[in-house]
């Protein structure tokens, strides 16, 4: 296709992506270098019968005027990145110098909002992703062995957790694990502990979120693996059996190697999606015990006064995280592309 025609065909799509994805990233970068204006203080003297006392108050009008004149705020350089709510250089250095042992340092780190969020985001991404792949493969192998007439209905039911709105799915789980909900009440009865709450302790909240994540994403891996299983040639499986391979050996040495490219695909999509874990935490009202990078940005923007600078700095670091996550994939694809051309 000639360059000119290509350009006109792709223009609307490219324009949309440029205006609403590329420019916002630029806007985030700029915003992250600024912070909100400080309030303008005025000193007045209150004079009474016993003399004058100076008092300081906020000049609302002047503050508002300053905000209107310069909505970005004042320039702060990389100050926002290094403050307590983000990378917290001072606190980390202090913790490093004064803490005794790794455990103490770790617990101090977990008191800093950014590191707490980062820890959860990484834990979620790197625990849920492999679990999704294993569970998805197991379901696919199971469904593949079912009689044909049952497969359609099974796939229908299996799609539900994935297709349903994440916020809605997590809310449904939230109501069920409520102390008065079916799972929460049953757990209390089983453990004989009437005060057991899945919402109270950080460890249990993390566990709940991981379970939700696996429940939500396993269908995706299942469908992809199931489609892949249909392409494994029966002749190869038979040949392996004639050579004396057991059922497990056939799965291990014939089926799984056929699935390898699919694993890469699922891995890519799941890493991208799990890294932005967000709705589940809102739906499960778990902000107190588990926060993710997306949640940090959300709560900065949602506060009484939206903190654009702080949200933007976290956004910038999230984007860098995504870039690091994607680099291996991009390098791999680039190599494949060059090999195909050569």
């Amino acid at each position: 296709m000639p360059h000119r025609t290509f350009f006109w065909f792709i223009l609307p799509s490219l324009l949309a992506m440029f205006l609403f994805i590329a420019l916002p990233i630029g806007s985030v970068l700029v915003q992250s270098l600024f912070v909100e204006h400080e309030q303008v203080l005025i000193e007045t003297e209150n004079c009474g019968p016993f003399g004058c006392t100076p008092s300081v108050s906020v000049d609302q009008e002047a503050t508002q005027a300053l905000r209107d004149a310069n909505p970005l705020g004042r320039f702060n350089g990389f100050g926002t990145y290094t403050d307590r709510n983000h990378l917290a250089f001072v606190e980390v250095a202090d913790g490093w110098a004064t803490s005794d042992g790794w455990a103490d340092f770790g617990s101090r780190l977990m008191n800093l909002p950014f590191y707490k969020a980062l820890a959860f985001t990484l834990a979620y991404t790197f625990l849920v992703t492999p679990l999704v792949i294993i569970l998805g493969l197991a379901i696919a192998l199971g469904v593949n062995g079912l009689p044909k007439m049952l497969k359609g209905a099974t796939i229908f039911v299996s799609l539900l957790p994935m297709i349903v709105t994440p916020l809605v799915g997590s809310l449904i789980l939230f109501w069920m694990i409520d102390a008065d909900g079916i799972i929460g009440a049953t757990l209390q009865r089983l453990t004989g502990d009437p005060s057991l709450s899945l919402k109270a302790s950080p460890a249990l909240t993390w566990l709940t979120l991981f379970i939700y994540g696996v429940w939500h994403s396993a269908p995706f891996a299942f469908i992809v693996f199931y489609a892949g299983l249909q392409t494994v040639p029966a002749e190869t499986l038979e040949a392996a059996q004639i050579d004396g391979a057991s059922r497990w050996q056939r799965v291990r040495y014939v089926t799984i190697p056929y699935m390898a490219p699919l694993v890469v695909f699922i891995l890519l999509i799941q890493l991208m999606d799990n890294f932005r874990v967000f709705e589940a935490i809102v739906g499960l009202s778990a902000q107190a015990n588990a926060s993710s990078l997306s949640i940090l940005i959300y709560s900065d923007l949602r506060g009484d006064v939206a903190q654009f600078g702080s949200a933007a700095a976290t956004s910038m670091m999230t984007i860098i995280g995504v870039a690091i996550l994607l680099t291996p994939v991009l390098i791999r694809t680039w190599r494949d592309f060059n090999r195909k051309r050569a």
């Binding site: 039911v157 709105t165 109501w175 008065d180």
Partner: protein, 293 residues
């Protein structure tokens, strides 16, 4: 398929069937439970005494005189104005899908037919954009949108959702167009068509399966979105998902959590119908990217 390799021992059949049944229960039970419970009163759905109450509706009979009640739905749809959110969702999702598909088919076709290196780079760029958490983009929009008075309108929401949808739409339609033989539109060019005529007269008639599948996923993305709709739409223009989140804030104190339960079931119903009718397309869409690598 009844080859020797497919034959399995009874124990294995029982084990694997049992596992699938367990999975189906885990997948379906939460929805069935919530659907059933949405017709009960709060005292049953969140029963302190015995969760079996939710099945028989013990409190529901005491409070309303029947074992099922539509009070939750009435409260959500009429009293809390959930119909407005449903209407907004319809408008936002409808236009998002239409515009996404229009842009996406044009762009996807161009990417599939261009052998130049920049087409590859555009696809890679789209992949990177696809990975951006939506909330980071929202934090980029908010301040400019406030300043230019663009915040809160449905149109803004639609345009933003279209843009966020584009990377995915492009990838998917690109791989569908790769499957349509090049000869088809090239023969049209030989017959004297322009590129656009070839697209309109030859490609459009055969592209519908791919477009329907991509449309389904655009629909899901727009329908399920929370980050963009919650942050960029004003109260009047809110769609269902942020409206449900809003219920939680306002209803817990009043003891009307059942409104939220009813709203959740209402918002899930269209998705249920969607899978019922388009299961085949959804499955083929999920695997389209994977099987081709």
């Amino acid at each position: 398929m009844s080859s020797v390799a497919q034959r399995r021992s009874p124990a294995l059949i029982v084990l694997s069937t049992g596992f699938v049944v367990l999975w189906l229960v885990i997948a379906a039970f939460p929805f069935l439970w919530t659907l059933w419970g949405s017709f009960k009163v709060q005292g049953d759905f969140f029963s302190r005494a015995d969760w079996m109450n939710a099945i028989w509706g013990t409190r529901t009979i005491v409070e309303t005189g029947a074992s099922f009640t539509g009070a939750g739905y009435e409260g959500a749809w009429i009293q809390e104005g959930f119909w407005q959110a449903a209407l907004n969702t319809f408008i936002v999702v409808f236009f998002t899908v239409i515009i996404s598909l229009t842009f996406g088919t044009l762009g996807g076709f161009a990417l599939a037919r261009s052998g130049y290196r920049y087409a590859f780079w555009l696809l890679m760029l789209a992949l990177v954009f696809r990975a951006m958490p939506h909330i980071t983009l929202v934090s980029g929009y908010l301040l400019p949108f406030f300043e230019w008075n663009l915040w809160g309108h449905k149109t803004t929401g639609i345009i933003v959702l279209v843009a966020i949808n584009q990377p995915f739409t492009l990838w998917m339609l690109h791989s569908f167009f790769l499957n349509i033989p090049k000869d088809l539109d090239e023969s049209a060019l030989v017959d004297g068509c322009t590129r656009f005529q070839a697209f309109r007269l030859v490609i459009i008639p055969v592209m519908w399966p791919g477009v329907v599948t991509t449309g389904l996923f655009s629909f899901l993305l727009a329908y399920n979105d929370f980050a963009v709709t919650a942050m960029l739409l004003s109260q009047d223009n809110q769609t269902m998902v942020p409206a449900i989140a809003g219920f939680l804030g306002s209803t817990f104190e009043e003891g009307n959590v059942m409104f939220a339960v009813a709203a959740v079931v209402s918002a899930t119903a269209p998705l249920f119908v969607l899978i019922l009718f388009f299961q085949r397309q959804i499955v083929s869409g999920l695997t389209a990217g994977a099987v081709k690598g």
